[in-house]
């Protein structure tokens, strides 16, 4: 277990923003946090990133209790990479300079400089390193932010609605980029979003409501989804009801003379197995 919270609460002037959240995240997992506004999503993220302290409860990241971290700045710069919703780049610095910011005051600067270039290349901005944010599109700006989050090889990326200000297609690109980094580098990601389509691209969705975890959902992979789509299709129905209404079924060889063939029986048994699994869940 890479990250866990235990009975986490956070009060703002007596209002419970987070009210007893206990959750765990595995190493390399890509988790999304969903919930209505004011449900405490961002507050949860800021406490995990040590930008804010909980009122009570504890957070453990990489076998380290956050309340016992002595150098909070070093924790933020070395272990965590933040990607915010918007206004998260410094407007008068170039993309390259923005990416370099988290290594301020850290060792082997020349090497890290090279790294900023590598990361900008990785996120597809090789030719736009010397542009300032106002010369970049919304999607490009978020790519810079992702590169910046990666500069010190963090164990954890905390993304607060990184697609919130982007159109659907660009938003999907950014999440795909984060997913790619998650898979290739094994970086654990916690992402707040309110877009169900975006959340579907992660491993697991944690739903927050009124500062509490209301439910969790493991996202089915695309092949599982495709299979279930097939089972629920007209094709699947004909097999399950063992009644061919489409002459094409005869041509496929799953029905012959209105009766299931051996091949048809085999597919039906797979569908039945899937139904059993669904019920078991």
């Amino acid at each position: 277990m890479f990250l866990s919270t235990k009975n986490l609460t956070k009060h703002f002037d007596g209002v419970k923003a987070i009210d007893g959240v206990t959750l765990t995240v595995e190493k390399g997992e890509f988790v999304s946090v969903m919930g209505p506004s004011g449900s405490g999503k961002t507050t949860l993220l800021t406490m995990i990133g040590l930008l804010d302290q909980p009122t009570s409860g504890e957070i453990n990241v990489d076998d380290e209790l956050l309340s016992e971290v002595k150098d909070e700045d070093a924790f933020r710069s070395k272990k965590v990479g933040f990607v915010f919703q918007f206004h998260n780049l410094i407007e008068y610095l170039t993309a390259l300079e923005n990416v370099e910011l988290p290594m301020h005051g850290l060792k082997s600067k020349a090497e890290q400089c090279k790294k900023a270039e590598e990361l900008l290349t990785l996120v597809g901005l090789k030719d736009r390193m010397d542009h300032i944010p106002s010369q970049l599109s919304g999607g490009e700006r978020q790519r810079v932010a992702v590169a910046r989050a990666l500069i010190n090889d963090p164990l954890l990326i905390l993304a607060d609605e990184p697609t919130g200000e982007l159109d659907t297609a660009t938003g999907a690109e950014i999440v795909n980029l984060i997913r790619k980094i998650n898979k290739e580098k094994g970086t654990t990601v916690i992402m707040v979003t309110h877009d169900p389509e975006i959340a579907k691209k992660t491993d697991r969705i944690i739903f927050l409501k009124d500062g509490k975890v209301s439910r969790e959902e493991v996202v089915k992979s695309e092949s599982v989804e495709d299979f279930l789509d097939l089972k629920n299709s007209t094709f699947g129905n004909q097999l399950i009801q063992q009644k061919a209404t489409d002459p094409y079924m005869e041509k496929l060889g799953v029905f012959r003379g209105g009766k299931l063939t051996k091949e048809g029986e085999a597919i039906l048994s797979v569908f039945r197995k899937a139904e059993e699994l669904e019920k078991a869940e």
């Binding site: 700045d73 933020r76 915010f84 390259l96 020349a110 010397d130 910046r148």
Partner: protein, 376 residues
């Protein structure tokens, strides 16, 4: 390409970028600082120039120390009776004593023309090195030697006549000493100076040369004991004794102080505004792991950047103004730009930057990253 630059250079680049992003505000602040430092530089230059000139007038006539009237606020106000001179000459420790009258009058359209009354039989006359014409001798009644500076400025030549206090003087020679008070003035016989300026049997100061230079302090004490109305000083002490020079130094210190206070308030205002506008930026920097002291130094660097640019402009302007002004109003002031003086003005600019920047920097560094980030 900036790729090979070190992060240090880039962070300094960040300071410049940040300062020049708000051109109008930074420019106005820099202009304010420049005016303040210009005043400070000009005053330092004038005070320093006057001191140097004064020291030379006293110093270069020879002798180990000088004797002046104790309560005189200024050399020109000092009166020492010649009877004291004769008595000092009798002392065994003393090799020679020479008296000089220093007065000021108006000639042509020049309000301040310094007149030195000397006895040509005494060594001090050698100090006025002749570049043209003749040196003054004891018989040269009605004759004057003038300094090179005034002769050039007023087109005076050997043989010309000058009207001074109703008497006419013929120019006998032109001298140069390198001290502009002297080079803008003139030398006449001591006896003539005494009658012309109503000094009677008095001079402004006595120069005393000892047989043994190691006995300076002993002899000074002895003289001051014997003549309570007199003051014996080494030339290095004379400036400290001159109340008008002290006044100028005091005023320049006061104006420097006002410039520092006003300039600091200006920078502080600019930096507080800048910090308030950049709360979110500071939040981002803190979120990506910048330490409080990095934020502190970022704001301080910007404030220093403004004050140093303002300071450099101010120093240059100050030097230009004093040089032009000295030429314009023909004051006998040789402006010497010493490294000390430039460094003093520069240090004042730096102090100003630190004073003005420390509070906004402290405020910026105190912000919690969370509050800063949620600021819209």
């Amino acid at each position: 390409m900036i790729k090979s630059m070190s992060i240090k250079e880039r962070v300094f680049g960040m300071t410049l970028k940040s300062v020049f992003r708000r051109r109008m505000r930074s420019g106005l602040t820099i202009a304010g600082i420049a005016i303040g430092i210009m005043l400070v530089t000009a005053l330092l230059l004038v005070a320093d120039g006057l001191e140097t000139q004064f020291t030379r007038v006293v110093e270069e006539g020879g002798g180990d120390f000088i004797v002046v009237e104790r309560d005189a606020s200024d050399l020109m106000m000092s009166r020492v009776d010649l009877s004291a001179k004769r008595e000092l000459e009798k002392m065994d420790e003393i090799s020679w004593v020479s008296g000089m009258a220093i007065t000021v009058t108006k000639i042509l359209d020049r309000p301040y023309f310094m007149v030195f009354g000397v006895d040509p039989g005494e060594p001090v006359i050698q100090h006025f090195e002749i570049v043209e014409g003749q040196q003054l001798t004891s018989n040269d009644t009605g004759k004057i030697m003038v300094g090179r500076m005034i002769s050039v400025q007023k087109g005076l030549q050997v043989g010309d006549t000058l009207n001074m206090k109703g008497s006419t003087f013929e120019i006998l020679g032109i001298y140069e000493t390198g001290a502009s008070f002297e080079d803008a003035g003139g030398v006449i016989l001591l006896s003539e100076a005494q009658s012309l300026f109503g000094l009677g049997n008095q001079v402004s100061m006595l120069r005393v040369k000892l047989e043994d230079v190691n006995k300076v302090d002993a002899v000074r004490t002895k003289i001051e004991k014997q003549y309570p109305q007199l003051l014996a000083m080494r030339s290095s002490e004379v400036v400290a004794q001159q109340e008008d020079l002290q006044l100028i130094a005091g005023i320049s210190a006061l104006i420097s102080l006002i410039a520092i206070v006003v300039g600091s308030i200006g920078i502080m205002n600019t930096m507080v505004m800048s910090v308030m506008e950049r709360i979110r930026e500071i939040g981002i920097l803190r979120a990506v792991g910048w330490k409080r002291r990095s934020i502190l130094s970022m704001v301080l660097k910007e404030s220093l950047c403004i004050s140093i640019i303002g300071g450099i402009i101010g120093i240059i302007l100050g030097i230009l103004i004093v040089n032009n002004l000295a030429a314009e109003i023909e004051i006998p002031l040789t402006v010497s730009i010493t490294p000390d003086l430039v460094i003093s003005a520069f240090i004042i600019a730096v102090i100003l930057g630190i004073l003005g920047g420390i509070y906004p920097a402290w405020r910026a560094s105190k912000m919690s990253p969370m509050e800063a980030l949620s600021h819209e």
